[in-house]
Symmetry: C2
Subunit: 404 residues, 2 copies
């Protein structure tokens, strides 16, 4: 029997307890021994909940109990999670976490402490929720030189964009609905401004390339400027708009960014709707691989956390090799990345000449559903070049990068 | 440095050599040490190929060389692969194989020998080609009670069905094209009659449920009876036709079968075209997860084989827990499985009464592109019940199960 403790009895924490209780037979079989939850840490009380019997308000109860071999950290946020996790690892306890803020900020240090102490720091749920992606990147896609990762990594924004696409509704209306349904937070900034996706692509990139990509270095744009009109143009091109976190190798230089993009219906990520997430990995020999599933939610996230607990139990006393050095991953300057840009400008056909004068050869896009403006897609150009051109042209309404 | 040997220098074997040579830097880093190919076994000679320097015609050179710690078996077929693999495992060498016939027939025995000898028997490439699915089932989806696996598991048939769908062409025409392009064998039976998909779903099911599913017990139908007309009906319903290997838990009983099915455009497998494969796994807590990628081909398959070599090197001296007992997996009788059936019958509207008399309440499907016949979808009924009804009705042209 292995004793574990759960730090935090919120949505994911109560999900972890539920998954271990519901699936105990199969989980114990796969772990090779019985997994027993000895403590749940939370500052709150939960009168009437069976968790009361194992609830503690004092982290030291867990830290000083040598019987506890695996600790689940599902509190979220950097502190006190960071302090608690570090102490657990130093005390010879493995840790499984769903906390992307913690992993993105302190992943390499915590991995290194785990290694020194012959325990494990596992974080399958921190990127992609229930989707197995961290462990496959770490132990399945090991024969490839990975040349790109691009993913729909945030369920809230994908839900909003899917509703906008299906209903022709505008951003504010859909956000409000999403908030009422509990799919978006009251303060939705971390999701809609791309910060959540940014941390997730930072984690996946670091694992895939073996060095640390600080999320603060990733150019990040959210979905708040996307409009119903943008979707009308997208549809006219058999495309849709998705918020993507992307890292790609262009001629030996890595670039990483988070931004909404126009995706053609031939892209494997095109059909991934609602709260589902999808991550496309490209390797130089395996070509495209895609992983799809629920990127968030109580039980899917808990499923990934418990799979880490199982792995920790199977590897008691042995550190699972994870290559994520503290050394900064060398990245290209975002200004040098080339993209094609979909641009909407106010005005009529008299503007075409001026547009081509500034933006060069472009492909004009028309849809009978939008009037009083022009839209076009540029050729490939650097972000810096596009930025300069955009500043020269005062009529721009909106810009979305194009993945075709 | 770890010495390895490759048994078989055919398509996959030469791919394995190519992947290890091309990606040696990253592969060695992920393995934690240098992987060195000491021998390649093949009965043929390859004049001018650098492999000549390490080529042997004698398996005993490899078996008796204690320096060889990992053996790659990519010869295909049950014998002599089975004898060679067994000897290697007994001699304390780990084995990585892409050989689905071998794994489906002797998986549990070889896993058990590997365990007794503290080595590993790994077979990521045996189901799903380059797609990571065996390792994720074994070590990622460990918190779930798996309730279903369904997959497009054969690239040849998916290529044929995709061409039939896109071009409105008939089966024989497309098969011939596929043979000319090398996507189908001259003797295509193993692919088009479903035998390949059958072995793959047997492997995935055994891993997911921990006991042995003998592939010979799986009801298997191929795609040879699918016609251009069937696709016309499918399109009229926003559906397509895919060859699926399926195992599902219905009320506590497992059923497994391979057959072409009508898939609606809302199914995550709907858009998986050409030689790509996709595997949808459903767990009771994680919900749907899908894995997508190249299910065959020299380099993608070699990528999966080499990832097994890396795993074997990382786990030198330690057996990776794989639950696949020799005990037979308890399965329901295929006759008791319920499905809905799409049925085409010759005749006109005068037949409707007779159809409903025999098949019960049905949903008639019309497309202006097909004349002189009627088509309908039944309610859910057991395979046995449908079979009886079909025998009562002499006008049936074709039948395809429906996944909606």
């Amino acid at each position: 029997m292995v004793n574990i403790a759960v730090l935090g009895y919120g949505t994911v924490g109560s999900g972890v307890v539920e998954v271990i209780n519901t699936n105990h037979e199969i989980v114990n079989k796969r772990a090779g021994q019985e997994i027993h939850i000895k403590y749940v840490l939370d500052l709150r009380d939960f009168p009437g909940d069976p968790v009361t019997e194992i609830l503690t308000h004092d982290f030291n109860d867990i830290l000083t109990d040598d019987d506890v071999k695996v600790v689940v950290e599902v509190m979220g946020g950097v502190e006190p999670a960071y302090t608690f996790v570090k102490k657990c690892l130093l005390a010879g306890k493995s840790v499984a976490t769903s906390n992307k803020e913690l992993v993105a900020a302190h992943g390499p240090e915590l991995l290194s402490i785990a290694k020194e102490n012959a325990v494990n720091f596992l974080f399958e749920a921190s990127a992609g929720g229930g989707i197995p992606i961290v462990r496959p990147l770490n132990s399945s896609i090991t024969a490839d030189d990975i040349t790109g990762i691009t993913g729909i990594l945030n369920g809230t924004t994908n839900y909003i964009l899917t509703k906008m696409s299906n209903e022709g509704a505008d951003y504010d209306t859909v956000l409000k609905q999403a908030q009422e349904l509990g799919y978006a937070e009251r303060n939705p900034e971390a999701d809609v401004e791309g910060g959540d996706a940014c941390r997730k692509i930072a984690i996946l990139t670091s694992i895939a390339f073996g060095k640390h990509l600080d999320y603060a270095r990733i150019h990040t744009e959210g979905i708040t400027k996307i409009t119903a009109e943008d979707f009308k143009y997208a549809k006219s091109m058999n495309a849709t708009i998705k918020l993507l976190g992307t890292t790609k190798n262009v001629g030996g230089t890595l670039y990483s960014f988070v931004a909404p993009m126009m995706l053609p219906n031939t892209n494997p990520l095109y059909g991934i709707d609602d709260v589902f997430n999808g991550i496309l990995v490209h390797g130089n020999v395996v070509d495209d691989i895609m992983f799809y599933g629920r990127g968030a939610g109580k039980l899917p996230t808990a499923s990934a956390v418990v799979s880490d607990v199982v792995d920790a139990v199977k590897h008691m006393g042995t550190n699972i090799m994870t290559i994520w050095d503290d050394e900064a991953l060398e990245m290209g300057d975002f200004a040098d990345l080339t993209n094609r840009f979909f641009v909407r400008v106010s005005g009529g056909s008299e503007m075409k000449e001026k547009i081509e004068e500034i933006f060069g050869k472009v492909q004009f896009i028309t849809t009978h559903e939008v009037a009083g403006e022009l839209a076009f897609i540029t050729e490939n150009m650097t972000e810096a070049a596009f930025d300069t051109k955009k500043k020269e042209f005062e009529y721009v309404i909106n810009v979305i990068r194009v993945a075709f």
